[in-house]
Symmetry: C2
Subunit: 409 residues, 2 copies
């Protein structure tokens, strides 16, 4: 008979304590790199970018119509049209042309440079052209229908903020300002190692690995799949050691249950320092954290939902501490059914969130089983319940984290 | 002097009419392809997938502890421990082993197959082991701490729905069920052509193209950059014709202003049928729609915000009609400041959305200038105002579309 010794988790750290231990370490961060602006979408910016130019760079027409000097239209009315001689056209992409003389107007198109001497554009709808003359029936104001120099963006105003996700609008603004490349953080690299003989033998498929890999992969996170490792201290240690230099965060699944804790703990303890083991969270209370040369190594459950929700706490924290960015999308919702909680545990409850009467409502899923992937198929979100609470009352406003399709009316 | 004829937009279609004209066409849709499950993340599924197996496939331990028959623990108490002989261990990844006999128990680990004759797992915390005996101090219920066959997912239950975005939890569940590949829709391909001499000459940068390309590119949309085309009927027609066979949707920017409408209209009319030109929306009222062999060709403003918000109406509609999927993320919010509207126009208003007291609040940005990319830098969302409304009152509940970072408390 094989002799295993089952160690108990004698006590669990509170969620708050675990977070504060995590926060106290100066974890390694990804370095920076220069990328072309158009390849920066979804990356985390590493510096604030201020506009080197005014946009527009010159006064331009904001409408199709006729460039005029407003003084020539002061007395215009339905019965007393101002008659202006058409002196030509400023096409888009062309130059300002000759200065406009008094009593004249010039055909002009949205985006065209205004001629000197003109201070307004009269919309084509508000006048009539007959041969070389344009008849204007109402006065225009100075600056009317003009996009004046710097009106959109003035020199020195921010086009991108530091430690922000680069959005299409930032890319567009930087493009407009002629900025070709910027500094961004390299993608955060998360290594994922799945341990367990049942995976090696193929008795079960590696659905936990599949969940973590596709959940964490995004525009600013790369995944390195460390594959499946047998229940052996040497294999686990070597795999993690090998991933260490390439990863900012390592997640090891399946090594946190009582029966395997020693194995994984021994393996990682040889190459890193255990900071805690066992946190009062549900699901995933068996989570352990190691510091391997300033790389956080998280040893989590082999069950998919527990592995995801417990690792997410610390992956979120890593990203938030470093960049102030939230990994999962949040939304406020009204709780439609009381959630129970076991005091002393911070619980992550899978929820079904839907729109009702213009507001989001959320209902807890019945199952709290941490191994049930079906709860994530039926739900689309989760919320957290503080360890001091026995539950959250129906009708309370809660914050949900969105992980699926919210049902809209 | 070059002679241009400016045509007026004599009337604008209402938003509703434009939508119903768009909806009446059977637009081409992307075909389907088979992909490996793990490469399907973020794609649109083309069929419902039902589980071919039960998960778990056998009764398994849901806790680390000892497999027992509950009848052996019926009278157990603090003062009268049930004494069970330890007959071995079922490791994870191993088989069920010999059937468990009465009066015996077996060490077992989360995920291990239960031995025949055992119907519960007693947690390691709730008993004591001494040599070859385990002392149990309280009765267990039949089924306690067991994940029974099909408890998570039963044969025939859905792992993925048709026409849904494939999420990490779908991938995990399909992986668990041994499904290797699935049918998804090929990515929707959007071709983007930017016209205008001011782009060709480099007088201004193509910030509108940059905005559209990075906004629309996502896990289920590919972009083909048609580049910059001069203001020439031939060039525009040939470029669109060339893109036609590769694209599901084509967006042509810069050809919808009055001064260029004829040019673009002539170009596209040679290869497609105009369905409308001019819609009562702000910004982007100059938008025109063509049907080119069942491919929608949208001719939109050259100004970035107008080009984005007006094309988005119809790109959204295409995707929603075909798949029931929303392209932009939505959220309900409380309006913190009245929005004005010009009756007769459906207005898309850029908003700044933030959390206050556990709810989302939104404030309109001052500028409504359709050319101002700065509004998108300052805002993070937009809302729409119905053409029949003169505005939306402060305190109303509105729905916002999220396009940036919401400010959380």
């Amino acid at each position: 008979m094989v002799k295993h010794i089952m160690e108990r988790f004698d006590s669990f750290l509170s969620y708050i304590e675990a977070i504060s231990i995590f926060d106290a370490v100066h974890w390694n961060l990804p370095g920076c790199e220069i990328v072309e602006v158009e390849h920066a979408s979804g990356k985390i910016s590493a510096s604030r970018i201020l506009s080197p130019v005014n946009i527009p760079d010159k006064n331009k027409a904001a409408m199709d119509g006729y460039a005029v000097n407003h003084q020539d239209t002061v007395n215009a009315s339905d019965h007393n049209a101002a008659r202006l001689r058409l002196d030509g056209v400023n096409i888009a992409g062309g130059n300002a042309g000759l200065p406009l003389r008094s009593g004249q107007c010039r055909e002009i198109y949205t985006g065209s440079i205004m001629p000197e001497g003109a201070d307004a554009v009269i919309k084509v709808e508000n006048c009539e052209q007959s041969d070389d003359y344009v008849y204007v029936y109402s006065p225009v104001l100075p600056g009317e229908n003009i996009a004046s120099t710097g009106e959109d963006i003035t020199i020195g105003s921010p086009l991108l903020w530091e430690k922000a996700i680069v959005r299409p609008q930032n890319i567009s603004a930087m493009n407009a300002a002629g900025i070709k490349s910027i500094m961004v953080y390299r993608n955060i690299t998360i290594g994922i190692v799945n341990t367990g003989r049942e995976l090696v033998t193929g008795q079960i498929n590696n659905s936990t690995g599949a969940l973590l890999r596709s959940f964490y992969q995004n525009s600013f996170i790369n995944i390195i799949d460390g594959g499946i490792v047998d229940d052996s201290t040497d294999s686990i240690r070597n795999k993690i050691l090998n991933l260490g230099s390439k990863c900012n965060i390592i997640i090891v699944t399946g090594g946190s249950s009582l029966g395997r804790k020693d194995l994984t703990t021994d393996a990682i303890s040889e190459i890193g320092k255990m900071l805690f083991s066992g946190v009062a969270i549900k699901p995933g209370r068996t989570i352990a954290l190691f510091d391997m040369d300033s790389t956080p190594v998280l040893s989590v459950s082999g069950l998919p939902v527990a592995a995801l929700l417990s690792s997410l706490i610390f992956v979120n924290r890593y990203i938030y501490n470093a960049f102030g960015i939230e990994l999962t999308e949040k939304a406020p919702a009204i709780l439609d059914e009381r959630i129970h909680n076991k005091t002393g545990f911070t619980t992550f409850q899978v929820m079904d969130t839907f729109e009702k009467g213009g507001e989001l409502h959320a209902r807890p899923l019945e199952t709290t089983a941490s191994g049930r992937i079906s709860s994530l198929l039926q739900g689309n979100s989760f919320t957290s319940i503080d360890e001091n609470l026995e539950g959250i009352e129906e009708g309370s406003r809660i914050m949900i984290n969105v992980i699926g399709d919210i049902k809209w009316e």
